[in-house]
């Protein structure tokens, strides 16, 4: 049986002649990997193709597509990244007609690292690797089992550690507003650590991620204060599933519950220019 890296390389080589580029990971200097746009002009780059650690590739896809809206690109995506791309499509951030998905199935150790319930792709037509079952998330379960006052105390303490790097917001493929409420001094105070009210930043972000978070855990991985950020989004996702029967990125033609479609006409924009 061919290993996953070889299979992925073959899958990329097959799609490369038909697209402007394939977004995947490449090993760089010192063994440090990063996302890279592989092109048919430089097929030799594929010798440095990498699988892990995963990167916020949907965000990079968005950056490239904003500059090149008509580009035809392929992207190697894991289950979470595929869900992220689907949610970005639903929120009009990209045109899926121009994007070819190459699904990369996670291995057991990778799924356990991410405590991932869905380490597999469901939309990609081309897939690489064997799909495995989801694994339990003991961190989320532990916090979910706490009493309400315990949970409040837990999160208050965690948010006190926040150094306000905005990394969780910046790395998030689902954070794509042109103007961010978290940069509005009305809501989030600048210039003081810990913040006077650290919950403000984190709960505003939590609310804004409702039914959008695809559990990729990029926020948690980049947090210099080790706040278990994915847990709050995973617990909120349970509520969204229960209340609206909606799972972010799961079903292509299911409308997100917070998206309101207005009838055609002239509307005056109020509040922040989102």
């Amino acid at each position: 049986m061919t290993d996953r890296l070889t299979s992925l390389r073959e899958a990329i080589e097959a799609v490369l002649p038909n697209v402007d580029g394939v977004l995947a990971l490449r090993i760089g200097p010192g063994g440090i990997s990063a996302s890279h746009l592989f092109s048919k002009e430089h097929p030799e780059d594929l010798a440095k193709l990498a699988l892990w650690p995963k990167e916020p590739v949907p965000d990079t896809l968005k950056i490239i597509l904003r500059a090149h809206p008509d580009a035809k690109l392929a992207i190697v995506c894991r289950g979470c990244e595929e869900r992220g791309i689907v949610e970005m499509f639903k929120h009009a951030q990209l045109n899926l007609d121009n994007v070819t998905l190459i699904g990369l199935q996670c291995e057991q150790a990778e799924a356990e690292f991410c405590r991932c319930a869905k380490p597999f792709t469901v939309h990609s037509k081309t897939t690489v690797g064997q799909s495995i079952k989801g694994v339990p998330d003991p961190v989320t379960e532990k916090i979910a089992a706490m009493s309400q006052p315990e949970r409040l105390a837990f999160w208050k303490q965690e948010f006190e550690h926040c150094i306000k790097c905005y990394g969780c917001r910046t790395i998030c493929p689902q954070c794509f507003c042109n103007v961010c409420t978290l940069e509005d001094e009305k809501w989030v105070e600048t210039g003081r650590l810990p913040m006077a009210n650290p919950s403000m930043y984190h709960l505003i972000r939590a609310m804004h991620m409702t039914a959008k978070c695809v559990a990729c855990r990029e926020c948690e991985e980049t947090c210099p204060a080790d706040i278990p950020l994915a847990v709050q989004f995973r617990l909120m996702a349970r509520d969204v599933k229960e209340l609206f029967n909606y799972e972010a990125g799961a079903v292509m033609d299911q409308k997100p519950p917070q998206l309101l479609v207005l009838e055609e006409g002239d509307y005056e924009r109020s509040g922040l220019p989102h």
């Binding site: 580029g21 063994g31 950056i63």
Partner: protein
């Protein structure tokens, strides 16, 4: 042809040495991503590191030395600026002694540049008044 690349570098802001990727799209700097498997920063950055790309092409960035003439900052050549600084330092040292001068170095410089500044302070000017921006 679309060109997208992540260029690995070290954050210039302080001495910690966090690694980051500069996102370069079509030869233009568009953003920053942390480097996950880097031994120092382990995929994290502070707010300065996350915004490193912002100062590179910022219109307010100083590209030429400025000298205040008649209360107004005016562009000058490096020779002119360095001569002015050397003259003034010599003048102050002659009038008030070497310990009337202090040097503040920067965590944004390399080790070698910081070494040179303290050497300049101690060996050329003759003072131990040397400190760095991380204590400001």
């Amino acid at each position: 042809m679309i060109e997208y690349e992540n260029v690995l570098t070290t954050c210039p802001y302080c001495g910690t040495g966090c690694a980051l990727h500069l996102q370069v799209l079509d030869q233009k700097l568009v953003g920053v991503l942390p480097a996950k498997n880097h031994v120092i920063s382990e995929g994290g950055l502070c707010i300065k590191g996350w915004n490193v790309h912002a100062f590179v092409n910022h219109p307010d960035r100083l590209k030429k030395p400025l000298i205040r003439k008649n209360g107004k900052l005016e562009e000058a050549t490096w020779d002119e600026a360095l001569k002015l600084v050397a003259d003034k330092l010599g003048e102050i040292k002659a009038q008030s002694g070497p310990d009337s001068i202090a040097f503040l170095s920067s965590a944004k410089c390399t080790n070698e540049e910081n070494y040179l500044l303290q050497k300049f302070a101690r060996a050329v000017i003759g003072t131990n008044n040397i400190d760095h921006c991380a204590r400001l």
